[in-house]
Amino acid sequence: MLKAHNLTKRFSGLLAVDDATIDVAEGPITGLIGPNGAGKTTLFAMIAGFLNPNAGTVTFQNEDITSEKPHLRARRGLARTFQIVQPFAGLDVRDNIAVGAFLHTKDPAEARRLATLTAEKVGLGHELDKLASGLTIAGRKRLELARALATQPKLLLLDEVLAGLNPSEIRDVLPIIRQIREEGVTILMIEHIMQAVMNLCDTVYVLSQGKMIASGEPRLVCTDTAVIEAYLGHGAAARIKAEGAAHA
């Protein structure tokens, strides 16, 4: 569904993303993990259209969208959330979500109806009249999710949607994400919380220092030497193995 091939992004000397490739198949949930500063959000920004790549292509449903503006990508069905939540502070929850809903309908009543439904889907049904600025971080994350969902996307890019949530809040959000997948939305998610990645993702890509160093099933990827070393440092994989043998 989404082919992001050989994407490179340079910021005056700093190579943030180096020839990275991701293929997102339609249906399964794909994860993008990697240590802090690996370039994950930069990669996302290029896929979503907020940054122009220095090299590489982005293809969505067999159409080249590499230089298309973000709002046009949204109209194609490619929606994203932001790592640092960006609510429309002055509007209430319903109106926030309605902005997304207006993508597919011009009728205000219909948009608000859709907004209400989407809010209920993510568990914000009882806070529709609250101002976005009055929500907790967990609420804002859900609002972020609901807004993107209201655009009826085919592919949803989630940027650390679980960051800042406590374990019970995470536990509550996971089924929502699964439900979104059940309803036919493909998901590509950046995530740090391994529990969620293992739980949700069918495929995982690992980005480290701008380069894609591994990809595949979560369990396999997590035991990959290169991946362990990316997180824990050079020689860590061998050390862990040695300690494991020593304990045995």
Binding site: A48, F50, K69, P70, H71, L72, A74, R75, A79, R80, F82, Q86, P87, F88, A89, G90, L91, D95, A98, V99, G100, F102, L103, T105, K106, P108, A111, R147, A148, A150, T151
Partner: protein, 324 residues
């Protein structure tokens, strides 16, 4: 239900003014009200771009003056009917808005830079109007007196006030549509957070242009009506910074991005102006000093204007009541 309250309150206010006018008011009060409605209309125009769109323009005079000059020139130099002139003024004003918007937004200007460039555009137009013969040069232009509906001039000023009230009510309807429609939602979204808006499919360039065009059209309309009442304009009246400042003052102090804001603001502006004039004994400038101070106080203590301030108090009392 909550949203309709403002609309009804505003209509009620206009209704009261209208009835008072018909019943009979002293001439100077009538003049004041006429001027107030013109400012209210201009502020309503400013509010679309500056309030709902969050793009503060310091040069709305560019649209006001274009409307005024267009209708004056058409009537005086070409003998065209006043109403047709009015429509043309609105269209040309809107076109100027679209042009300024296109240039400014394509360059990605916002915030202070946008305010500066709108100021510059208005000044350029003022200097041009002041130099060209075709706009009367420094002497300005007059519209000849012809009373009658077709000329949009009335010996009985009450008619004019009623027409103005009608236009302001139209502005209210437009604002109401804005607050509910997809266009309005997109405009507010891009004001609040333009990155998030783009991610949701909002074409922010297009929406900004549409907003400035609408804003300019309404302000140009006010300019046309100004001419019909005062029958004289020159470059400083039409394109001078006074109207840019009064429009933005009324909208901001009244409550930017709200329906009642422009009305409250223009009432305050004119009411205060009269009060300070009576106290200051004719020293020029005292009323504007008061306005400036109020603007600063507003920025400091009531960033959402009077209407916002009142709404916040209301909200707080409601939630305090609930907590108990």
């Amino acid at each position: 239900m909550k949203k309709n309250f403002e609309f009804i309150a505003a209509l009620a206010f206009l209704g009261v003014v209208g009835i008072a006018a018909i019943a009979g008011l002293p001439g100077n009060i009538l003049n004041l009200l006429i001027f107030m409605m013109i400012i209210a209309l201009t502020a309503q125009g400013w509010n679309v771009l500056g309030g709902y769109g969050g793009l503060s323009s310091f040069g709305h005079a560019a649209f006001f003056g274009t409307g005024a000059y267009t209708t004056t020139i058409l009537q005086t130099s070409f003998g065209i009917n006043a109403w047709v002139g009015l429509v043309c003024g609105v269209i040309l004003g809107a076109a100027v808005g679209a042009l300024i918007g296109f240039l400014s937004f394509r360059a990605g200007l916002k915030g202070s830079y946008f305010a500066l460039i709108t100021l510059a555009f208005a000044e350029v137009l003022r200097i041009l109007a002041n130099s060209w013969d075709f706009t009367g040069g420094a002497a300005g232009m007059m519209v000849s007196i012809n009373n009658g509906f077709a000329y949009l001039q009335f010996s009985d000023r009450r008619w004019f006030l009623l027409i103005l009230i009608g236009f302001v009510a139209g502005g209210l309807l437009l604002t109401r549509w804005l607050e509910r429609s997809a266009f309005g939602a997109y405009l507010i979204a891009l004001r609040e957070n333009d990155q998030a808006a783009q991610a949701l499919g909002v074409d922010i360039f297009k929406i900004k242009i549409q907003a400035i065009t609408l804003s300019a059209a309404i302000t140009a309309l006010a300019g046309c009506l100004y001419v019909q009442n005062f029958l004289f304009i020159d470059a400083n009246v039409a394109y001078g910074s006074w109207i840019s400042i009064e429009a933005l003052f009324a909208a901001i102090v009244g409550g930017a991005g709200t329906m009642l804001g422009p009305l409250i603001g223009s009432v305050l502006l004119l009411g205060l102006g009269e009060i300070t004039k009576s106290f200051s004994g004719g020293i020029a400038g005292v009323d504007l000093v008061v306005f400036g101070i109020i603007l600063i106080l507003c920025v400091a203590f009531a960033p959402n204007g009077i209407r916002g301030f009142v709404a916040d108090l209301w909200y707080r009392r409601k939630s305090r009541g609930k907590a108990m």
